[in-house]
């Protein structure tokens, strides 16, 4: 009703690839609620009928009661064109009034019926539409979980989110508002045009001649408005970017005395935005006045043509003489067409976008899943912790090998350190164990079982992972830690936090464990987030641990705490560490030195030093500094007095 038409006019149109397919897909959802759709159809048919009945009745009022003398048959007292009652020209005022009263009541009934039926149609449509939407959303979400990590690595999070939100929004608009109004509008137009034609073909055609002009006008203006709005959107993007930069960089701006330049630059962007919007305003402001003027032209045409025929008594273009009542009826009909025409013209963009949006959503739901449980996959029994890589080769992109013929064996409880430059393949090895990716050749076996033969969830719930980039959820700290084991009690959570050296800082927070974190766990420092991640995995108590030691910039004290927590975490499980700290590597039972996807050296730290190979070089250039520094620091510490 009170919609900002200009905004709808300015929507971009997205191309639809497979119209038929998408509509069929929608149909599959709606089929479930066919009774709802049937009801809606029935209702809008009734409404459309009422929209035709109304003008007819008004015409009858004019012909039968108000101006019967205009319908005077030349011979009798009959009233030509009055079918509502058998009243004739001899009727008294009183009789005419009563007749009018009856007709008025009937008309009231018709109008009320129309209103009620529209209300019902609206509700049923909403109910049906919302149910379908809820279903589609659920399907979409379920599929999101099924898609493998590989998919997410290839697709930008922003694009996926855009499908989920923006596209759902256009589909929602389609179901909520557009479908019903377009359907009703089309039906009304259909019924009205048919009625007009049924009454008098030439009169109808002449009266409707303005309609195509109205449609073309709308198409032209909305097309121009769209272009202008596209420009305006670009400009507002610039304005926002300027704002964002200046606010977050305010310190620099003031420190370098750049306020004046900054303001001047903003004014330019602001001005461009203003100009673009004003240009769009030309078209949005013109649409309504033009359409309104055209509707008056149509009205004038109706009266002119009909009146001409009535006055001259000439049949119009070979049909019949136009009665006064018919003129009134047609005037009423034409007025009825205004709203549906305007609505459909404006909403058509939304229809296209809604279908296109649906298409994009279905594309996502249809996205093939490459990592699934085998049909006969068994549950992974309690892991002892033996991990074997047999001739494993891995290619993310066919032809580009990331891992070449990797073989090693880790006994239960051992610490395996993965060392090498970025891109050597360490992270890939770590991703293969929980089956985030599948190997291209060879096999990954845990306790003798190929990971592809077991159920993924049963496997992963026994493998703990701590990565460099910690992801936390926007819920309480308690719940975040409990993520490791949903069955854990509060006490168990706190115990895990203590082991992970996170308990202290959590207690210091105003709401302690009940502190709610912000989006993506904001509100904590990097170091604190890592400690919570460690607590999370501690609670999980997995038999296999995968740990990436790289820490972002934390101060030395926090670094020490994290290191200690890591060391505790490594105890008693088979651990794979992407190692950055010399102390860790020294403690490892097996060090795998990697380069370009191959294990070039393996052994303990001391064994590898003796080999004087690649590991030895790395040690000399990177780790030795650390060792010496550590030693010196211990020297420099003031002795306790």
């Amino acid at each position: 009703m009170f919609h900002d038409n200009s905004r709808i006019l300015g929507q971009e149109t997205i191309k639809v690839q497979h119209l038929g397919g998408t509509i069929t897909r929608f149909g599959r959802y709606f089929r479930h609620y066919w009774y709802g759709l049937v009801l809606v159809l029935v209702f809008i048919v009734i409404s459309a009928t009422a929209n035709v009945l109304g003008p007819e009745l008004v015409g009858q009022a004019v012909d039968c009661y108000l101006f019967p003398q205009a319908q005077q048959g030349s011979q009798s007292q009959d009233i030509v064109g009055c079918w509502f009652s058998d009243i004739n020209l001899t009727a008294t005022t009183g009789q005419r009034l009563t007749g009018l009263g009856t007709l008025s009541l009937l008309l009231l009934g018709v109008y009320i019926l129309d209103s009620v039926v529209i209300g019902l149609a609206f509700f049923v449509m909403r109910w049906t539409g919302q149910n379908v939407l809820r279903w589609i959303r659920a399907d979409l979400f379920r599929h999101l979980h099924r898609l493998s990590i590989g998919f997410y690595a290839k697709h930008e999070a922003g694009d996926v989110m855009s499908r989920l939100t923006n596209d759902m929004q256009t589909v929602q608009q389609l179901f909520n508002f557009t479908l019903l109004n377009v359907a009703r509008g089309v039906l009304i137009i259909l019924f009205v045009v048919v009625s007009m034609l049924w009454r008098n073909v030439p009169y109808a055609l002449l009266s409707l001649s303005v309609v195509p002009v109205m449609l073309l006008t709308t198409r032209y203006f909305s097309g121009q408005a769209r272009k202008a709005f596209r420009r305006a959107r670009q400009e507002i993007g610039n304005v926002n970017a300027d704002l964002q930069e200046s606010i977050s960089g305010a310190r620099e701006v003031q420190a370098f005395n750049r306020e004046d330049e900054s303001i001047a630059q903003f004014e330019r962007a602001n001005q461009a935005n203003r100009a673009a919007n004003v240009r769009a305003a030309v078209f949005t402001s013109a649409l309504h006045p033009v359409l309104e003027a055209l509707s008056f032209v149509a009205m004038g045409l109706v009266v002119l043509v009909g009146g001409w025929s009535a006055l001259r008594g000439t049949p119009l273009l070979g049909s019949s003489v136009i009665t006064l009542g018919l003129v009134f009826a047609f005037m009423n009909y034409i007025q009825r067409l205004n709203m549906p025409i305007m609505q459909i013209a404006v909403l058509w963009t939304n229809v296209q976008n809604g279908i296109a949006g649906g298409e994009r959503i279905f594309n996502l739901i249809d996205e093939p899943v490459d990592i699934t449980d085998k049909p006969d996959a068994r549950k992974m029994p309690e892991i002892q912790g033996e991990v074997v890589f047999e001739n494993v080769c891995m290619e993310y992109v066919p032809g580009e090998a990331v891992l070449k013929n990797i073989s090693f064996q880790a006994q239960a409880g051992q610490i395996i350190a993965l060392v090498g430059h970025t891109g050597a393949g360490k992270t890939t090895i770590a991703s293969l164990m929980p089956r985030f990716y599948d190997v291209s050749e060879g096999a990954v076996k845990i306790d003798g079982l190929d990971v592809r033969d077991v159920q993924m969830d049963s496997l992963r719930s026994q493998i703990g992972i701590v990565l460099q980039d910690t992801f936390l959820f926007s819920t309480t700290i308690m719940e975040n830690i409990r993520y490791g084991n949903p069955e854990a009690t509060d006490e168990e959570v706190i115990a895990a936090a203590k082991v992970a050296a996170a308990h202290d800082f959590i207690e210091r927070m105003p709401e302690g464990y009940q502190t709610v974190l912000g989006e993506r766990g904001s509100g904590l420092s990097q170091g604190q987030r890592q400690l919570i991640a460690i607590a999370r995995v501690t609670l999980m108590n997995p038999r296999i641990l995968i740990l990436d030691e790289a820490t972002s910039s934390v101060d030395t004290r926090t670094e020490r705490i994290i290191q200690a927590a890591f060391e505790k975490l490594l105890e008693g499980r088979t651990s794979f560490v992407i190692a950055h700290r010399l102390s860790t590597i020294k403690h490892a039972d097996l060090v795998l030195m990697m380069r370009e996807g191959e294990i070039i050296e393996r052994g303990t730290h001391y064994e590898l030093l003796e080999q004087k190979g690649a590991y030895y070089d790395l040690y000399m250039s990177q780790f030795l500094d650390e060792e010496v520094a550590e030693a010196e620091k211990i020297e420099a510490m003031p002795t306790a007095d």
Binding site: G119, R126, W127, L147, E259, N270, L311, S553, A636
Partner: protein
């Protein structure tokens, strides 16, 4: 963050808008902004008046048009009656003489054509003025938005840091965008709509009263009912839609977390848990929409119904008048049309009133910013600080945020001679950052004074003060533009040679030349992304170009490899040569080489001296030295041991 895929992420800590109170003062002020565009506003309103007047005239034209037909047709029929007796009876019924009837018939066609032409002419004229009105209104509202945004931006740029401490970026962004839009929408649509509605309503009612009092009285009672209904509709629809938005937002959060954190979800095999979480949000959203649907599916028909009932009443009572010979069909149609003019404005008014509250709240927030006084103000006769030597003194400096609460700095005293290197040490919250913020006068002291070369910083112009102080902090902000623009940020009129020289000293020239565009490479949102180390070096070049006398920096580097770290440290050393430097120290080499070390503890100077002095005298220093600093000293031992 800049919108991704068209979604704006929820700014953390944004207050949820509930039902808002009407803030008349703020609305009034925003309307007064229109004063800047007097001519355009007058044109818009003049066009509105003319368009409305023509609109009021249209039904009259329609009436003429119809009456010409009905009179003509009636006359024709009567004149054609063959039986004189019947004819006379019919003539009597009309109450007109036969001459009149004949006349009616003769002129009918001409009258009709004239009437139609005039109607169309009026319709076109109305269309043109309506266009002018709408266009000018939009033009004025865009001008208003333009002014507001400029004013907000200017204000924000010049506000002092304490303001930024209190307000999050997200909130400020929303003031300048959403709130301005809200006010603009109200001015564009709301204000004009109100005037139009009022004009239309009063005009129509006057005409109706004058032409047909009885019928008007019949219609009158319906109007307040319709009005009340529209207002009610507006009032309850807002909070309902707000609730929908909130639930949609909650749903999107779950979605976003599952997309961004899919690895964690899968790693912990928590799909069922997340599924349940999603299902709850999905159901919540569904429930709210159904609630909205229920309300609307009731209100819509009622509102439509009211209009329809009005029409039927008119039909009956007007019909009665027609039958009793008081009204012509044209007059009936005229009345019908005027009726629309009565109900439509009522709807508009109801809607506008519901918009007012939200718009006024937005206006209130906007003016809150515009009214804020910056607490760092240049004195009216501030003197220009001449070329600095670089002697910095803190005399009994105490600082409290917003001049209340516990002091962040208490009674800090020290003197730094030109060219000295000062290391600042202390745990988080000890006051280090405050000290370096006081020097360029980003904050003012609560007590005491900060002197540079003997001048109190409050006595000099901000320009002259800050242009001689260079700042390089770990959190570097670069701006969209070329690399050259960024280096020349403080001195846009620097020559290319100067820019390159600064870049070379900052160990940045090499990597800059590796870009295809060199110094003209675009950086920022729409350009190349620089690594942390590269950004830092550009920031160093930026500060170098100023040739400042005083330097403020912190010595930590973002996660870079050894070689780059070495380069950055060397660049910083170059930067500090010959300048008074204040360094927030994280490295052992910094404190060992400092001329002065200031150790802060809870806002007080806990130790002051050189490394050697403090190692002996201060336990707190020794403790910090041993535990908190990063060791970065060159280890020549390593090279020797390898041989």
């Amino acid at each position: 963050m800049h919108a991704v895929g068209g979604i704006r992420p929820q700014a953390a800590g944004m207050p949820r808008r509930g039902r808002e109170q009407l803030n008349k003062a703020a609305l009034g002020r925003s309307i007064r902004y229109l004063g800047k565009h007097r001519r355009a506003t007058v044109v818009a309103y003049a066009a509105l008046v003319i368009a409305t007047l023509t609109q009021l005239a249209v039904p009259k034209m329609v009436q003429r048009m119809i009456d010409s037909v009905t009179n003509g047709v009636t006359a024709k029929q009567i004149l054609a009656i063959p039986n004189p007796a019947v004819q006379n009876l019919a003539i009597e019924k009309t109450g007109l003489s036969i001459t009149v009837l004949q006349h009616n018939f003769d002129v009918a066609e001409t009258l009709l054509i004239n009437a139609v032409v005039i109607l169309i002419a009026f319709a076109i004229m109305r269309g043109m003025f309506a266009f002018v009105q709408m266009y000018m209104a939009e033009w004025v509202s865009q001008a208003l938005a333009y002014n507001l945004r400029n004013d907000i931006f200017t204000k924000i740029q010049r506000l002092s840091f304490s303001y930024y401490d209190r307000n999050q970026t997200g909130q400020l962004m929303i003031r300048a965008t959403d709130d301005v839009e809200q006010v603009r929408g109200f001015i564009a649509q709301g204000l004009l709509m109100t005037l139009q509605a009022v004009l239309l309503l009063t005009g129509t009612l006057t005409i109706l009263f004058l032409t047909n009092l009885k019928l008007t009285l019949v219609i009158l009672p319906i109007m307040p009912i319709a009005f009340a209904l529209f207002m009610f509709f507006g009032k309850i629809s807002q909070p309902m839609f707000l609730a929908v938005q909130q639930r949609l937002s909650a749903l999107n959060t779950v979605l976003q977390e599952n997309v961004a954190g899919i690895k964690v979800v899968k790693a912990f095999a928590r799909q069922p848990y997340e599924q349940a979480r999603f299902d709850r949000s999905n159901d919540d959203l569904y429930t709210q929409w159904i609630r909205v649907a229920r309300v609307f599916s009731f209100l819509f028909p009622v509102m439509m119904g009211i209009g329809m009932i009005g029409q039927v009443i008119v039909l009956y009572f007007a019909g009665g008048q027609i039958i009793n010979g008081g009204m012509s069909p044209g007059e009936y149609q005229e009345f019908s049309l005027y009726l629309v003019y009565v109900f439509f404005p009522l709807g508009q008014l109801g809607f506008i009133i519901s918009m007012m509250a939200a718009a006024s709240a937005s206006a209130g927030r906007i003016f809150e910013i515009l009214d804020t006084q910056s607490d760092i103000v240049e004195k009216p006769h501030a003197i220009k600080l001449p070329s600095m030597q670089g002697r910095v003194e803190f005399q009994n400096v105490t600082f409290r945020y917003f001049h209340s609460g516990a002091p962040v700095l208490a009674d800090v005293n020290f003197t730094v001679e030109p060219g000295q290197k000062v290391a600042l040490l202390g745990s988080t919250g000890s006051g280090k950052s405050t000290i370096i913020n006081l020097i360029p006068r980003f904050y003012d002291v609560s007590e005491g004074a900060v002197l540079i070369d003997g001048h109190d910083v409050r006595e000099v112009t901000l320009d002259s003060l800050r242009s001689q102080i260079g700042i390089v902090l770990q959190e570097t902000n670069l701006f969209s533009g070329t690399i050259r623009d960024n280096i020349a940020f403080g001195r846009p009129d620097a020559t290319d040679e100067e820019v390159q020289e600064a870049a070379e000293l900052a160990a940045a020239h090499k990597f800059i030349m590796e870009f295809p565009g060199g110094y003209n490479t675009s950086v920022g949102e729409r350009g190349a992304t620089l690594s942390g180390g590269q950004k830092q070096r550009v920031a160093i070049a930026r500060a170098l170009l100023l040739k400042p006398s005083i330097l403020i920096l912190d010595d930590s580097t973002s996660s870079v490899d050894f070689a780059t770290e070495r380069q950055i440290q060397d660049a910083l050393e170059t930067l500090m040569q010959g300048r008074t430097s204040f360094v927030i120290a994280q490295r052992i080499s910094t404190v060992r080489n400092a001329d002065k070390i200031i150790v802060l503890d809870k806002g007080r100077v806990a130790a002051l001296g050189t490394h050697a002095e403090l190692m002996e005298e201060s336990t707190i220093y020794a403790e910090i030295y041993a535990s908190q600093l990063i060791d970065d000293r060159k280890t020549d031992h390593a090279a020797n041991a390898a041989l």
